[in-house]
């Protein structure tokens, strides 16, 4: 497969690259290095710009009013959008809009009116409530939050852990056990409004990620009507499986963007910095670190574009999406680490974005399915589905 950008793709890449360099990075220089929000006036001004560029709501499917941009091009643009300090978790501070959670596209018409369309218009935000204190890698077995049938609805009791954005969201998607005897086939997906009585955001969970914290949730006799079931009862995991796999591709692209930015900084620094009477760039030890960076970036870029291309063509892309997520999150971590090493003491400071990327990139080997789970997915595919 040839992954050289077409002329049209290159034009879009240049446009986004200019936006990041001319609009985002200068504003970011004024912010606290751990900040994840722009001043509201700046945010509104930049949203007008991305709308004028025809790129607002870039991830929204065409049938829902998004710009008609294929997944390969979106990956190329996501790589650009991540190339600033907050870029891994808040690319361009959200000024390109977003499509919200994949699952909500599977909602019925009434739910779409209440949740999907307001989300696409930027009026509502959502959280994704899957992981529990009992585990996130294997939710089918780990989920202990129960939903019991009562009065034309369901009563939820239980807890969720490490849930991003739950305190600021208007609603969330919550997975709960509706049939204890059925394992994976006993989980249902609910849409929960965050002002529902019995829904509580109990605490902030501080992590390496400074852009936005995670939270711990509690459901205490939280009653929701039947209208809040997303998809079918006991088929929670059937909701949007394809879309979830697809999500690993832009997740990988963000890691590549940050890795490229770190690598470019390391190259610049190696050419400038002199030790023992010689530029760092002339030392083989440093050259090899830069070469390894280049290989990690090219590898991740190749596999991520391969996954995107297969998804675009409607071919199976499960293995490819896992390989992309693995190579980008693991390779990206190595690139940032080497780039910090080349910068010496400066690499450890909050004066440069490297330390933030280092912390946040580490989370990428656990979030959206840890590396080991991605390897398990690949092993299952290559060894056959009998493997458990």
């Amino acid at each position: 497969m040839d992954f050289e950008p077409s002329e049209e793709q290159q034009m879009l890449i240049d446009q986004v690259r200019r936006f990041v360099r001319e609009e985002i990075i200068p504003l970011e220089a004024q912010l606290d290095p751990d900040a994840s929000e722009l001043d509201p006036a700046d945010h509104a001004r930049l949203v007008e710009k991305t709308k004028a560029m025809g790129l607002f709501g870039i991830d929204i499917p065409k049938e829902y009013g998004g710009p008609d941009i294929d997944i390969v091009t979106r990956v190329l643009l996501a790589i650009e959008m991540a190339q600033h300090r907050a870029g891994l978790y808040v690319p361009c501070y959200g000024t390109f809009g977003g499509a919200g959670l994949a699952q909500i596209f599977e909602a019925n018409e009434d739910q779409k009116e209440r949740y999907l369309y307001p989300t696409l218009r930027g009026e509502k935000k959502a959280f994704f409530g899957l992981t529990e204190p009992s585990g996130g890698s294997d939710p089918a077995r780990a989920i202990q939050t129960k939903a019991e049938r009562r009065e034309n609805g369901w009563v939820l009791n239980g807890a969720k852990l490490y849930i991003s954005n739950a305190d600021r969201a208007q609603y969330g998607i919550v997975f709960a056990r509706t049939d204890a005897s059925k394992g994976r086939a006993g989980i249902t997906c609910f849409i929960i409004d965050s002002d529902t009585p019995g829904f509580h955001v109990r605490r902030v969970v501080h992590t390496l990620r400074s852009s936005h914290y995670a939270t711990e949730l509690e459901f205490k006799d939280c009653w929701v009507s039947d209208h809040q079931v997303l998809g079918e009862v006991n088929k929670g995991f059937a909701v949007a499986n394809d879309r979830l796999t697809r999500q690993r591709i832009p997740y990988a692209a963000g890691c590549i963007g940050v890795a490229i930015a770190a690598h470019e900084m390391a190259i610049e620094w190696a050419k400038m910095r002199t030790t023992f009477g010689e530029k760092l760039a002339n030392r083989q030890a440093v050259q090899w670190m830069l070469v390894d960076n280049e290989i990690d970036i090219r590898t991740a870029r190749h596999f991520t574009l391969e996954a995107a291309e297969k998804a675009r063509r409607g071919l199976p892309f499960k293995i490819e999406a896992s390989i992309a997520k693995l190579t980008a999150s693991e390779g990206g971590g190595r690139v940032v680490d080497r780039s910090m090493q080349i910068h010496g003491g400066m690499g450890m400071t909050k004066d440069l974005p490297l330390e933030r990327w280092y912390r946040e990139m580490r989370i990428r080997r656990v979030g959206e399915g840890p590396s080991e789970v991605q390897r398990m997915v690949i092993a299952r595919e290559i060894l056959g589905s009998n493997l458990r």
Binding site: D32, P33, H200, H212
Partner: protein
Amino acid sequence: MSIRLRLDKPWRPLAADEIARLPGQLGVYQVADAAGAILYIGQAGARAPFGLRSELQREQKERGDGCQFRVEVNQQYRTRWFELLMVHQADHGSLPPDNAKNPPPLGRLSPN
């Protein structure tokens, strides 16, 4: 493993000699009036030249005598700052008066 939600250390007078002993580290702080009512919850981020020390020196210069303060050294000063503000809002129904003048975007927390 329990994580302390509220900042409940003893208050110290907001005075030059007390502040001079503070570390130059990142963290969060609270300023209260003489009766212990919290006036402001602040953060010493990476742009503060001497972290908590310079932020509290600025507070003392602006507020004069008669106030009190307490600090927590914390690398995750930003998320901890949001947390303290949300906990204060949940406990008191409003933000401290000097934060309410220019409130940051906050979520909703209902701590136990």
